[in-house]
């Protein structure tokens, strides 16, 4: 299934497709209009702008001061903060969705962060680079060095990414903390969704990133 099949492309949507990252468009498609969203690690606010343009009430947290100031200068409601420490300040059920886009691998305690996402949001959308992607595996297996890709260009010694995982690892973590996966999408190197009838091992091998729509499975404690 290509991006064109996921998103019906009329004129406005075509313009959107050019202006925004494909993974952001996929995320935006998962969010209901009129809902209240927190984007954790919102960077320069591109995703928040897309959400606001679709009538979604978006807020953001960003670690870097430059990122925050860019966002605020765009009129977005963004605060400087750290996903590891500042999510605990938000009350339960404060948002309809909490988004963690390409940030999970940079947190110190991904499990605690994930639990917090689903405490303050009724749903969470998590996207992350899949370390089980075949090119990653190949670089380690054949090249014998830590993998680097276009999307993850940092060397091992200066990367902010300290907790890489594979799609398989992430699915296991979701099971462990009793999180329900409402929707899962794996994108290939061209940011095109892989066919959803493919088995997990195929996604884990050929997906360069995973996008998951999560909700609480119930009150199992």
């Amino acid at each position: 299934m290509s991006l064109q099949q996921v998103l019906p492309l009329n004129g406005a949507a075509a313009r959107e497709a050019l202006a925004y990252r494909p993974d952001h468009l996929l995320i935006a498609e998962m969010v209901d209009r009129g809902s209240k969203v927190l984007d954790v690690g919102c960077g320069d606010g591109d995703l928040l702008q897309l959400l606001e343009s679709r009538g979604i009430d978006g807020r953001g947290i960003e670690l870097s001061r430059e990122g925050v100031n860019h966002c605020v200068a765009k009129g977005l409601a963004v605060v400087q903060g750290d996903a590891d420490t500042d999510l605990s300040n938000y009350p339960d059920d404060a948002f309809d969705y909490v988004i963690l886009s390409q940030t999970l691998q940079a947190t110190r305690r991904p499990k605690a962060v994930l639990e917090n996402l689903l405490r303050i949001g009724r749903r969470a959308i998590v996207t992350f680079p899949n370390f089980g992607f075949w090119r990653m595996r190949l670089q380690l297996l054949i090249g014998g060095h830590m993998p680097r890709t276009e999307n993850l260009p940092a060397t091992w010694y200066d990367t902010p990414n300290i907790h890489f995982c594979t799609i398989k690892d992430f699915v296991q973590l979701c099971d462990e903390i009793n999180v329900k996966m409402e929707r899962a999408v794996a994108l290939d190197s061209y940011a095109r969704p892989l066919r959803f009838n493919m088995p997990w091992w195929f996604w884990n091998m050929f997906g360069e990133q995973g996008i998951f729509l999560l909700s609480r499975a119930g009150k199992a404690r």
């Binding site: 009430d57 925050v68 605020v72 009129g75 977005l76 605060v79 903060g81 948002f95």
Partner: protein, 403 residues
């Protein structure tokens, strides 16, 4: 019509000290008078009546009265935000921020700024005449608080016929008033821009204020606050208070950049207590120019008001309770080198607002200019203020300029 021309006379030269008392009771800006039937209920239990609020406005109020912005001034500020000061002849204290095309755009918004109650530029305060005695109030004036200032402002906004303010904006003590507005009248504040402030005054800040007050009181001319009866002014004590305070408004880096260890009009030390260093000369100038325009007792009262400020304490110690369910849009701004109201204070406010699910932006601006940065030319700060008001204006349905 930019509205930048104040509706008042503005002499170009500084007024001699004896004329300060004239500005106190008969300000050269508009005045709202409240009679004995409209007392101001003060936190200390006193009903203040009659009283007056001196204010200044810029720009035009639109037909549905939805474009009014209240600017709250800091400790030693006044209502003359963007016009020549009637006493010093200097430009308004926030002309970088307020004017046509500026973040607080006078061609789009109706800007209001009033002198705080307890001040000395035309609103009733310790330097005003007490109608009961015919003499200057002095220390007989009741102690006022930040909530009292805001209550008086709310009466002024009623007097001007405005229901909801599009924005309330201010830095330092002005920021405290912004926060008090949102805590006391959330439904009357569409958006709030508190800058370089805190929800309470810290122990260190109270300590600095106490230092300033003691300097004033140690001046023999202060005379237990009755100096007006003898037509003197404790200018030495007040100047020392201002010098000490001024240091807290700057930063080590800013002082070093501005003055370093450079000498003032000399090559070598004089081996005396003359102002050998430029920084000494600068501070002395700051002190002496301040006493020309400010009343010593008003300085005591206003510093006290800041000391007492603690929003959480007014809500059973729970800060989030002050903002529960609030729909006001917030933009909180702090500056990296501000050690009087450090970023941690703003962050605590932001956490409380997050806990209330308020719509809040929070930006920390990198600058070495210290607390005073909010009054200075800091383009990143202007961009943020501009964008915040712009997006709030869209949400408020304010028209674009020229429409």
């Amino acid at each position: 019509m930019t509205g930048l021309t104040p509706k008042s006379k503005t002499p170009r030269r500084a007024i001699p000290p004896q004329e300060r008392s004239h500005e106190v009771d008969h300000p050269s800006s508009p005045v709202a008078e409240f009679g004995i039937d409209k007392p101001l209920r003060l936190d200390c239990g006193v009903d203040l009546a009659p009283f007056q609020i001196a204010y200044q406005t810029y720009g035009e109020l639109n037909a549905d009265k939805s474009n009014a912005i209240l600017v709250c001034h800091a400790l030693t500020g006044d209502q003359h935000v963007a016009n020549r000061h009637p006493m010093t002849g200097k430009p308004g204290w926030w002309e970088t921020m307020v004017g046509p095309g500026r973040p607080l755009d006078t061609s789009r918004y109706f800007i209001i700024c009033s002198n705080v109650i307890g001040g000395c530029m035309g609103s009733t305060g310790p330097a005003s005449l007490n109608p009961a005695t015919g003499k200057v109030w002095g220390l007989d004036f009741p102690i006022i608080t930040i909530p009292d200032m805001v209550r008086a402002q709310a009466m002024l906004i009623d007097y001007l016929g405005i229901e909801t303010l599009f924005a309330v904006v201010g830095g330092s003590m002005g920021g405290m008033q912004v926060l008090q507005w949102t805590a006391a009248y959330p439904e009357r504040v569409f958006s709030a821009l508190p800058i370089a402030c805190a929800t309470r005054h810290s122990a260190q800040n109270i300590a600095f204020h106490e230092l300033g007050r003691q300097a004033v009181m140690a001046d023999p001319d202060w005379d237990h606050g009755r100096y007006a009866d003898k037509a003197v002014h404790p200018h030495r004590g007040l100047a020392v208070a201002r010098m000490a305070a001024h240091i807290t408004y700057l930063s080590d880096a800013a002082l070093h950049r501005k003055f370093g260890r450079r000498m003032q009009d000399r090559e070598l030390p004089t081996f005396s207590f003359d102002a050998d260093f430029q920084v000494e000369s600068y501070l002395r100038y700051q002190g002496s120019s301040f006493v020309e325009r400010f009343d010593a007792n008003a300085y005591l009262y206003l510093t006290r008001a800041m000391d007492y400020f603690d929003i959480a304490a007014d809500h059973d110690g729970v800060l989030t309770a002050a903002f529960r369910g609030i729909e006001t849009r917030f933009c909180v701004v702090s500056f990296t080198s501000d050690w009087l109201f450090p970023t941690a204070e703003s962050r605590a406010l932001v956490h409380a607002l997050n806990a209330s699910s308020a719509r809040v932006s929070f930006a920390e601006i990198e600058t070495d200019k210290g607390h005073d940065a909010f009054l200075l030319d800091v383009p990143e700060f202007f961009d943020i203020a501009h964008a915040f008001l712009e997006s709030a204006g869209k949400a408020r349905g304010l028209n674009e300029p020229g429409e």
